[in-house]
């Protein structure tokens, strides 16, 4: 807590939204969502370790409409966070930081995320 007011950068709504900024926010949002997916993983593993009855409960939930919506959300989040995470790791090496590269890789993530998500969900549900 600062004891006196410090200069702040203009807040979010001051800027016109654009791809790179939106993608950064979505990266955070999907990251937060995926921490809840991690809890679902814990439930699944505990269910398998606990026995067939507990596993049946887990499976029933995953096959319900709510379960399927949650799974779909997690798959999309995972694909996005994975692909955009690779983009971030590449940036961390100092490469691809110019506007053009950032937009090319950014749009690639935007296009690939729904395609790969659909593929995985199709493989899981059929």
């Amino acid at each position: 807590m600062a004891s006196r007011a410090r200069p702040l950068s203009p807040h979010l709504q001051i800027y016109k939204p654009h791809l790179l900024m939106t993608m950064s926010i979505v990266h955070r949002a999907t990251g937060v969502a995926l921490t809840f997916a991690a809890l679902l993983l814990t439930w699944g593993l505990v269910a398998v370790a606990s026995g067939p009855l507990a596993f049946a409960d887990f499976q029933e939930f995953m096959r319900s409409i709510v379960g399927r919506l949650i799974v779909a959300g997690f798959v999309v989040s995972m694909l996005y966070h994975f692909l955009n995470g690779l983009r971030h790791l590449n940036w961390d090496t100092g490469r691809g930081l110019d506007l053009r590269s950032s937009y090319v890789t950014g749009w690639s993530v935007v296009v690939l995320t729904p395609l790969l998500s659909a593929l995985i969900l199709w493989l899981v549900w059929t």
Binding site: M1, S3, L41, V46, A49, I120, V124
Partner: protein, 130 residues
């Protein structure tokens, strides 16, 4: 570099705690680990979908799946916990709530990560409750 802050200023939490590099590096290392592990995990979920209890249990109990699963759990919870820490620090401005949430997240990540790991160990060593 010379000191720009008095020790008191640092004690009050107004300066660098010199933990930034460790946090940054931990986030990257777990990200690098999670990249291949996530591909493996997606493959595992796809291959297990629609399987019955016995085959799910057998697959998860085999060392070839159980070991990457434990590595995945560790990297996942560590990475998630580091990320949530930054989000809380950025958006929660009431100090007591911020500290409370940080503690909660660290405890929950450890508890859930350990629980998941122990579940895998139970599968590996074949204890049954059924």
């Amino acid at each position: 570099m010379s000191e720009y802050q008095t020790p008191l200023k640092r004690v009050r939490g107004l300066g660098s705690a010199r933990e930034g590099v460790g946090h940054w590096w931990g986030q990257r290392l777990t990200a690098i680990a999670l990249a291949p592990l996530s591909i493996w995990f997606a493959w595992l979920v796809v291959s297990l979908s629609g399987s019955d209890y016995t085959s799910v249990r057998q697959t998860l109990a085999s060392p070839l799946q159980a070991i990457p699963m434990i590595l995945f759990i560790y990297a996942l919870f560590h990475h998630g916990q580091l990320g949530l820490q930054v989000v809380i620090e950025d958006y929660v401005h009431q100090r007591p709530l911020e500290i409370g949430l940080l503690i909660l997240v660290k405890f929950l990540a450890l508890a859930a990560g350990l629980t998941a790991t122990i579940a895998v160990l139970i599968l590996i060593f074949g204890a049954t409750n059924s």
